[in-house]
């Protein structure tokens, strides 16, 4: 039987490091995706994702089980990402080069090359448009888009009300639509 997150946390608290390793294996990709969505820089995102699990390890006794493990770990990840972004003002040109480099590394062309090209262009412009959002708006759009998290979970992660989540999502989507216009 696959152990639940709570069982793994309990075992981890009792000193079973393998339980912690299982949690990292389960969530490292998801955490990295969320952080990368906010920071838009691969190396920084890796650094912050690793830091997230380091902090979680040190603060495990603060996790009381009131929220799910994943909302707790995402909260750490989002806070670290937003703090990191505020501390380091990145050069916008460097960001555009990063997104272009990632797009080039994508998989093979599909059966409709024109469609694939259009999607690539949309993806590139999407990342640029997301990067123009504030960290708070980036966080909601990324959490919803990647993880499909409910507004309730997102509100717990970000420490705001569900109404705020809804209005930030609406605003962020509006901004993205304005910038992407004909591509949609």
């Amino acid at each position: 039987m696959i152990p639940s997150d709570w069982e793994l946390v309990q075992r981890w608290r009792e000193g079973e490091v393998i339980a912690f390793q299982e949690l990292v294996a389960k969530y490292h990709q998801k955490v990295f995706m969320v952080v990368l969505g906010i920071l838009n820089h691969r190396e920084d995102a890796l650094e912050i994702a690793q830091e997230t699990f380091f902090r979680a390890y040190k603060k495990i006794n603060e996790f009381k089980g009131g929220s799910t493990f994943y909302t707790w770990i995402y909260r750490i990840a989002v806070n670290l990402s937003i703090d990191f972004q505020r501390r380091k003002r990145r050069n916008p040109i460097e960001l555009r080069e990063t997104s272009a480099e990632v797009i080039e590394g994508e998989g093979e062309m599909g059966s409709d090359p024109y469609r694939d090209l259009q999607d690539r262009e949309l993806g590139k412009r999407l990342m640029e448009a997301i990067n123009d959002l504030t960290p708070d708006h980036k966080a909601v759009i990324v959490l919803r888009a990647i993880e499909g998290l409910s507004y309730k979970d997102i509100s717990r992660i970000l420490g705001c009300s569900q109404g705020t989540v809804m209005s930030r999502l609406h605003y962020a989507r509006k901004k993205l639509q304005e910038k992407l216009g004909p591509f949609l």
Binding site: H28, F54, G123, L126, A145, M166, L169, L176, L180, L184
Partner: protein
């Protein structure tokens, strides 16, 4: 309730996210059946959602677990969380809105109450009135007798002047002033 296009388009995101109640969902569904412009907006939003998810997931592919895990282990064995990071984490947890929802009205009542109480208990905010006593630094009776008296229970300080009277009330055999205490 009939909805107009502005209201519907504002709720489309939440509708697609399945965050609306059944009644609202039904209303929007019915509106979309009749309104081509809102239907087009819904399709644009769906495309945006799908493109977003794909773009973000594509960018994040290819993170190998082993090197990631080794780095996390290295941090755990070599580092502690800096004190300032712990402090800001604590501040964040205190200011989490669900707790703050109680703190704010309590703070409001406390502030209003504190300033109102000054009207009923003047001086209570000015510090301890109980320990501050009246101090008499000097007295000069200009040749008359003066008594200084303090009563602790009522915190009363009295300076009593015994006036020089040439005539006394012979019927009572005592002066009007007499000993007041």
């Amino acid at each position: 309730m009939m909805r107009n296009c502005t209201t519907v388009q504002r709720s489309l995101g939440a509708w697609l996210d399945a965050e609306l109640g059944e009644a609202e969902r039904q209303e929007i569904r019915e509106h979309l059946e009749k309104c081509p412009s809102c239907l087009a907006e819904k399709r644009r939003l769906e495309r945006l959602q799908s493109a977003l998810g794909e773009a973000l997931r594509a960018r994040a592919s290819g993170i190998a677990f082993e090197p990631f895990w080794r780095e996390v282990q290295r941090r755990i064995s070599e580092r502690e969380i800096p004190w300032h990071a712990r402090f800001w984490d604590w501040v964040r947890s205190i200011l989490y809105p669900q707790r703050l929802a109680w703190v704010v009205p309590v703070a409001m009542v406390f502030l209003v109450g504190a300033f109102s109480l000054r009207e009923f208990f003047p001086g209570w905010l000015s510090g301890s009135q109980r320990t501050a006593r009246t101090v008499v630094d000097s007295i000069d009776g200009h040749g008359l007798n003066v008594a200084l008296f303090r009563e602790s229970e009522s915190r009363t300080t009295v300076i009593w002047l015994f006036e020089d009277h040439e005539e006394e009330d012979e019927a009572s055999g005592s002066s009007t002033q007499g000993n007041p205490f």
